[in-house]
């Protein structure tokens, strides 16, 4: 039920540690913003293309990543073309696309579970005031609640459809929230009853 954006593979990028990939992405994005010129764009593009080739990703993965931002990028391109000139407009749009593609390179080659493992491992080294158990519990409860909320939402929607009220947000949201709040109470009582908190 819960899908992710991961693309299977065994390239060096797939095998690299998530923390290293995040670090590299942060450095990449910062440098692209600081050194704002055509040379930077060219070098960065070459790096992103190389990354996609090494990871064995296809053009369609790149298109899927950039497509949601298409209209807003088009709007910015037009505004920049009118207010400045076409070369600045192109530079800014290319920079956005590079940042999005570099980020998607990390997302497409890393399983969400690897990130969760990374977060959990990182929590080991966190100072004592960090509520480690609560953070771990919140992540795992949320992953459990997402399919639960979807199921309840579908049930409520079917029920309100029978009343002709399935386009009424109030009639959908109030039962959804009250029912799932009760479920959350029950879950926390179950955890409490087993002395796990």
């Amino acid at each position: 039920m819960l899908t992710d954006l991961y693309v299977y593979g065994s390239s060096p990028l797939h095998r690299c540690k998530p923390s290293i990939k995040i670090g590299a992405l942060t450095v990449f994005c910062t440098l692209v913003f600081i050194y704002n010129s055509w040379i930077t764009i060219l070098v960065a593009s070459a790096m992103v293309v190389a990354g996609f080739l090494v990871a064995g990703l296809e053009l369609r993965h790149a298109i899927i990543s950039v497509r949601p931002a298409f209209w807003i990028l088009a709007a910015i391109f037009i505004v920049q073309m009118v207010m400045a000139d076409i070369s600045l407009a192109a530079l800014i749009i290319l920079r956005f696309m590079l940042l999005i593609l570099a980020a998607s390179l990390v997302t497409l080659t890393t399983k969400p579970s690897e990130f969760v493992d990374g977060i959990m491992a990182g929590l080991h080294f966190a100072p004592s005031w960090v509520p480690k158990e609560n953070i771990a519990l919140a992540i795992s409860l949320c992953l459990r609640f997402i399919p639960l909320v979807r199921t309840v939402l579908n049930e409520v929607r079917d029920a309100q459809k029978a009343r002709g009220m399935d386009r009424n947000f109030k009639a959908l949201l109030v039962p959804l929230i009250v029912r799932t709040l009760k479920s959350a109470d029950e879950v926390s009582q179950a955890i409490y009853a087993r002395s796990l908190d």
Binding site: A84, F145, V178
Partner: protein, 192 residues
């Protein structure tokens, strides 16, 4: 901070509710042609139902899950890339939006009615959110703040509709299943 297991469960639940609201097909307003999604409705409700601390934390949790690559945003978007798009500031702004709505709801809890709830949603869900999102667009796209603001105007009618819905739901949930403990009061938390 005094987080109980129940608070953690509520935080996880509202992160899941914001995620589940992505499945609503976007409604396109006839006049301006901008799609409005139900997801930011969940942001307002996280603050308005859970309060400042739990509401803000649930949005942080939601955005962490988005960042690690779960496609939980409307249209199946997810991953680090969504924070680097021009509208990334609005996503980060959700945290502050939920916290502000939660803070004001706690502050006005005892006299909360539809009008006050609507005002709270407008302040946290529109004014504050745009105050964070618009400078971000302006900086990243190298356009003036004014241009970025003009470009965001078509979204405001949809956001006002969401504030109306969120305010209605906040008031009903307050009556039927109150979670928030009003600021300065206490002790109603134990009525299971």
């Amino acid at each position: 901070m005094g987080m109980e297991t129940r608070d953690v469960a509520y935080i996880a639940l509202f992160a899941a509710i914001v995620a589940a609201l992505a499945v609503f097909p976007p409604i396109t307003l006839p006049l301006v042609g901008v799609p409005i999604t139900a997801q930011s409705l969940g942001v307002m409700l996280a603050g308005g139902v859970l309060g400042a601390m739990r509401g803000g934390l649930s949005l942080i949790l939601f955005l962490v899950l988005v960042a690690i690559g779960l496609p939980l945003l409307s249209g199946g978007r997810g991953g680090f890339g969504v924070f680097l798009t021009p509208s990334g500031g609005f996503l980060i702004g959700w945290i502050f939006s939920a916290a502000a709505i939660g803070f004001l709801t706690e502050r006005f809890w005892l006299k909360l009615n539809f009008g006050i709830a609507f005002g709270i949603c407008v302040i946290g869900g529109i004014v504050l959110l745009y105050a964070i999102g618009i400078p971000w667009v302006a900086y990243a796209a190298e356009i003036s703040v004014w241009t970025a603001f003009t470009g965001s105007l078509p979204f405001i009618p949809g956001d006002i509709i969401k504030c109306l819905i969120a305010a209605t739901v906040m008031v009903i949930v307050k009556k039927s299943y109150p979670i928030i403990v009003p600021r300065g009061a206490g002790g109603i938390h134990d009525n299971v």
